[in-house]
């Protein structure tokens, strides 16, 4: 029974990280950009929640969504000029943006944690037999599932989704066929903003305070998950995000209490092993021979 409990908790954390990972994966797909500043969407959203503490939920949620999507679109503008730059340059650019936003947050709100305080009912729990289930667990799994399904439908059933997949598989050819790349990239950023909003709201019961580093920690873990899963396609990237969240929670529960401080070492060790065994990604099909 204990293990069922661990499993449920792990699935909940996994679905949170899969949302962030899907956002990172979408952007990587359309412009080969690893957005380290993805976490700053969550951070800025978190401070929006802090600033609007006490307002009605029906105002706060749309407002946070607006702020996060707006910031995502601003980021897109900042990265636009670098679309054909070397990967390292783009990575450092996203780092600079992340650093900039964290510095601003640090200056405005200091490094001390601020309470985000939304949906406090979600952290309550009910019991089924010996299982103790928090409402947020169920909601995370449900929202995660719905959003993943939604993005999947969007990519497969709409025109812009089709164009997005075309740009992801070959930008130059897609462009030559008349796909308006800018529109596609903007859509991808907006979509990743929506995903970040959902992830943020579901993270609140787990981590109720926001600090300038709040988002970076989440984004790094999700990014590791994306690479471990396989960056080249969305589904493996999302599963990768899920796995890292799942493993994080599972390893934590399984480690003896005294050894829990070594959680990071175990987790990173697993990451290294997976990367050595399957450098192309855990859920990626074997790649055809490298093109010469």
């Amino acid at each position: 029974m204990r293990y069922v409990q661990y499993f449920i908790d792990a699935v909940a954390l996994g679905s949170l990280y899969s949302l962030v990972a899907l956002g990172i994966g979408l952007i990587f797909g359309v412009m080969r950009l690893i957005n380290l500043a993805q976490g700053e969407l969550l951070m800025v959203g978190g401070y929006t929640l802090f600033a609007t503490n006490g307002w009605s939920v029906f105002v706060r949620v749309p407002l946070v969504l607006l702020v996060i999507v707006g910031l995502a679109l601003l980021m897109e503008r900042a990265f636009r000029r670098l679309r054909s730059a070397a990967p390292a340059t783009m990575l450092v650019m996203t780092f600079a943006v992340s650093f900039l936003l964290r510095s601003i947050a640090q200056k405005r709100w200091s490094a001390q944690g601020k309470s985000m305080n939304i949906f406090s009912g979600l952290s309550h729990a009910f019991t089924v037999g010996q299982l103790r289930i928090r409402y947020v667990t169920l909601v995370s799994i449900a929202v995660g599932g719905v959003l993943l399904l939604g993005v999947n439908l969007f990519l497969n059933r709409t025109d812009i989704g089709l164009q997005m997949r075309a740009v992801a598989s070959d930008r130059r050819i897609a462009q030559a066929l008349g796909v308006r790349t800018n529109r596609v990239v903007v859509t991808a950023f907006a979509l990743s903003g929506v995903l970040a909003t959902a992830a943020l709201l579901l993270f609140v019961p787990q981590r109720p305070t926001v600090t300038p580093d709040f988002g970076l920690q989440i984004a790094i873990v999700a990014l590791i998950g994306v690479v471990v899963g396989g960056m080249d396609r969305l589904a493996p990237a999302t599963f990768g995000g899920f796995s890292i969240g799942f493993a994080n929670s599972m390893v934590f529960s399984l480690l003896p209490t005294g050894q829990r401080v070594f959680l990071d070492s175990v987790l990173y060790g697993l990451v290294i092993i997976v990367l050595l065994l399957r450098p192309q990604g855990l859920f990626q099909r074997e790649r055809q021979t490298t093109r010469v």
Binding site: A88, L91, V92, A96, F99, S103, L216, V227, V271, I272
Partner: protein, 325 residues
Amino acid sequence: MLVLLAGGLSTVFSQSVQLKFHNAFVITAMVVCVYVSSGNSGVISFGHVSFVAIGAFAAGLFSMKAQQKGAVFNDLFPFIKDNHLGNLATLILAAALGGLYALVVGIALVRLNGLSAGIATFAVLGITRNVLRNWTKVGPGAKSIPGVEETTGLTQALMALILCIVVAYIYQRSAAGRRLRATREDAIAAQGVGIRIYRERLIAFTLSGAMAGFVGAVYVHFLGSVSTDQVYLDLTFLVLAMLVVGGVDSLWGATLGGLSISFINTLLSEGEKGLSLFRQKFTLPTSSSGIILAALMAIVLLTRPKGLANGREFGLRGFRRRDSI
């Protein structure tokens, strides 16, 4: 040129600001270390700060007196607790440990490419930090190592930087360095002429690990104390940002990026406290230095995506564009 620079600095800035420039030299030395491996091979490593950390912690712990260590860090292994080394010895020890650690890590990881390599080396950094922070037999735990003798002055910092640049230069002009650069330009063609990528990368990785360990020791002798957070994420990203802003593919780029950003960084953080420059008094608003620095880096990257050096390299006959590998 660096000597002239140091001389110039001392005339422009007051004594207290000059002290802060040690930092710039040491950080730039780290950038050069990362360049030796990442610049020449084209594979970005997020893990080099772990070698810096190993060097810094080893040098810090061994330069503490035995009885002092017994009082503060009683859990340490006896051979760490009971031994004490002189300054030069700690530098050599740090270089050796950094090199050894890089060799072990490299044997496993240099076969990886691109992002997988980046994340795997990042994982090494995470493990290093986690172990140093929590395994009190080998590290100070969550505390910092206090009271390390501050022997790194402006001269020593500059000497360490020059040493790193010279080693990096000799390596990249050597046959091994040229072979590695060939794999960066075209991995398949390089293999075609008989270059073993794995071996060349491992050589560079180990060499740069040893250099990073050495710089770590220099760093701790400059800081006087060190904690795991000082040699973790922020330093990693800062060093990488300097490398990329300067220009990843040349030693001149690494040096230029390191020096310019860390000088600006120093100036800005001093500026927050009030800075007299050319006899004028400037004061920046508190914690605005990070904002300005990040904005500057972003502007440089947007206007010069290939970095400040833009592929230029220094040689014995002045600066020139790199036209051969």
